[in-house]
Symmetry: C2
Subunit: 338 residues, 2 copies
DNA sequence: ACACAATTTGCAAACGCTTACAATGACTAA
DNA sequence: TTAGTCATTGTAAGCGTTTGCAAATTGTGT
């Protein structure tokens, strides 16, 4: 076919009559090269259609200008919006992104990180609800900076970017309580995940406590992170006679809402819902979902920006960043009582 | 920090007392190495925690086991589901995926392809509605196979995987007509895109023609690909007195549905909708969206599989694959009249 | 015109691995 | 025993860049 043997740096060097080093210098915008030679080299590059071979570059310089992104699933709106933020600032700094889906499987997460390491990525952004000990060890063993985006490690030592989940869930819980609910359900993922146990649950309990409502663990629900899981858990929530719920995932929230409506409850009159991710899902339904507002794109973007600093050995003052969250009042909550 | 100098192939070679070549052979599962030496090498690898450096490997072998994926936006459900299919089979064949978002900007698409080329990817999967001439040239100039997924080039020469858009749209149109609509709108993207002009529109007109309904271009609408665009175009559709619509994107369809309902039309009684992508968006609303069913995951998977063959110089009998589509009858269409 | 300091260049050694090709050794058949 | 085969292993030449260091060139002040 079109098998074109791409020109090498050597070709342009001999074309111009200079050494490899000189060409390399102008290609890298490097220091001092006489203006006239630079121009000649540039011309030759143009004529030969020379494109530096990034692999060779990587070998020689030990920098690949590539970062790895490890995520549960591109198909999950929450994560894909983070990924978009990551990708945009990655491009801004001229990094490429190596993407891996793990479905939150620790084995695959470990493999992914190791794989990225052998590909010599300059840095890694990791997303996922749980940070398995082995995954943590693997990350620690990697010779490249890693930052967590929308994710937390139990000890809170890894660089990370999140919102204040405790505060956000507390506020949501309080809002619902203020609306006269005394049976507010909390729907999250498995309690083995730090983010659920140490953040969402804590926030929920804090909200309860502030209102002097006793914690009742029959109002605690753990689900998968998808629509049908929402449909399923809704039945239990219904049975538990909860009249409102704080939900950790939009698809799950939608499942719950639809179930309730299919079973004669109207939302928000009979059942109020506050979801947490504020993805596109939240605004395409009627009623629209009231949600904790997360700056998802920014979480990804800030995480990536942080990574660039780390890769550059710049000082990063705050290694555990918390971005501000909001509350998006929409149709699944009634107006707060004054 | 933990700056660990990773062991090289040389280290394990000298540890075992064999040559680089031998180690390389066992690492690559290569041909003939005596069982006993293989074992010794494997042990040494284990002890030293040796991981082959993929960059060096790439330089030496001219194969990076990395492919590039160029797509409009990870955040778009349709494309992210394709991406998932791609990623899964890529992993199956031990390829990594370099992901790039282009927002369908030809300039960025061109840059992306060139960039991937200089990173020496072994192949590229390209997604996007339009294939700008320059992008096409760039693709042709790349020394690596490229396959289109869920996308078409005007000439239909590039390897690609799609469904039969003409047939799918025709069927949808016919179904609506059969339901007594004589003013069926077609909502697509810009007509400058081949997929709209040469496929969706053609299918739509074929459907009309089969029912002897004259084509009326005031029933043709071009929009952006997002929810608010749907809300906006809905107003015009309403004004045009259409009573049904075939829509190319789920978010747009949702916008249209919500607008109609907000303006006193009930769906599907007063206005029927058939969308085209059958993403998660289609099933989380009430009513659920009737949709052309596309095997999105499979489109990605098949495209990737095809790419592996191309990268391997295997023969590919069918370079323009059309996967079967279905019709998912849900809540935005009434039961077809017998 | 001369010594000395910049400023530009070139040399050549990595970077870590793959892979022809050559070499060695062991084994087989005659 | 001897040549001929295989199976196994080693040698060394790349792959296309970057980069520390040395060499060459140019400029400056006197």
């Amino acid at each position: 076919m079109q098998k074109k043997q791409t020109a090498t740096i050597y070709d342009v060097a001999s074309r111009v009559g200079v050494s490899l080093a000189t060409v390399s210098r102008v290609v890298n915008g490097n220091s001092n090269v006489r203006e006239s030679t630079k121009r000649k080299v540039l011309d030759a590059i143009e004529e030969l259609g020379y494109h530096p071979n990034a692999v060779a570059r990587g070998l020689a310089s030990k920098k690949t200008t590539t970062i790895g992104v490890v995520m549960p699933d591109v198909t999950d709106m929450y994560y894909s919006e983070l990924a978009r933020g990551i990708d945009d600032v990655a491009n801004m700094y001229h990094y490429d992104v190596l993407l891996t889906n793990t479905d939150e499987d620790p084995v695959r997460e470990t493999m992914a990180v190791n794989n990225l390491a052998s590909k010599q990525v300059d840095g890694i952004i990791f997303m996922g609800n749980e940070l398995d000990r082995e995954v943590l060890n693997t990350i620690a063993a990697v010779d490249a900076p890693v930052v967590l985006a929308g994710s937390l490690d139990e000890e809170g030592i890894l660089p990370s970017v999140n919102i204040d989940y405790v505060a956000a869930v507390k506020e949501a819980t309080e809002l619902l309580i203020r609306n006269k609910h005394d049976r507010v359900a909390l729907v999250t993922g498995p309690m083995v995940h730090a983010i659920n146990k140490h953040h969402r649950l804590v926030g929920y309990q804090a909200g309860l406590e502030a209102a002097n409502i006793a914690f009742d663990d029959s109002l605690l629900f753990a689900t998968h992170q998808d629509y049908s899981a929402g449909l399923q858990v809704a039945e239990k929530i219904f049975a538990a006679q909860a009249t409102a719920a704080v939900v950790y995932d939009d698809e799950v929230a939608l499942g719950i809402m639809n179930y309730m409506r299919d079973h004669g409850k109207s939302v928000p009159e009979d059942f109020e819902i506050i979801t947490s991710n504020d993805t596109k899902f939240a605004i395409v339904t009627r009623p629209e979902l009231s949600s904790i507002g997360q700056p998802k794109y920014d979480i990804g973007a800030v995480a990536m920006r942080m990574l660039t600093k780390l890769m550059n050995n710049e000082v990063v003052d705050d290694m555990q960043v918390q971005l501000p969250h909001t509350f998006e009042k929409r149709g699944t909550t009634i107006n707060p009582q004054p």
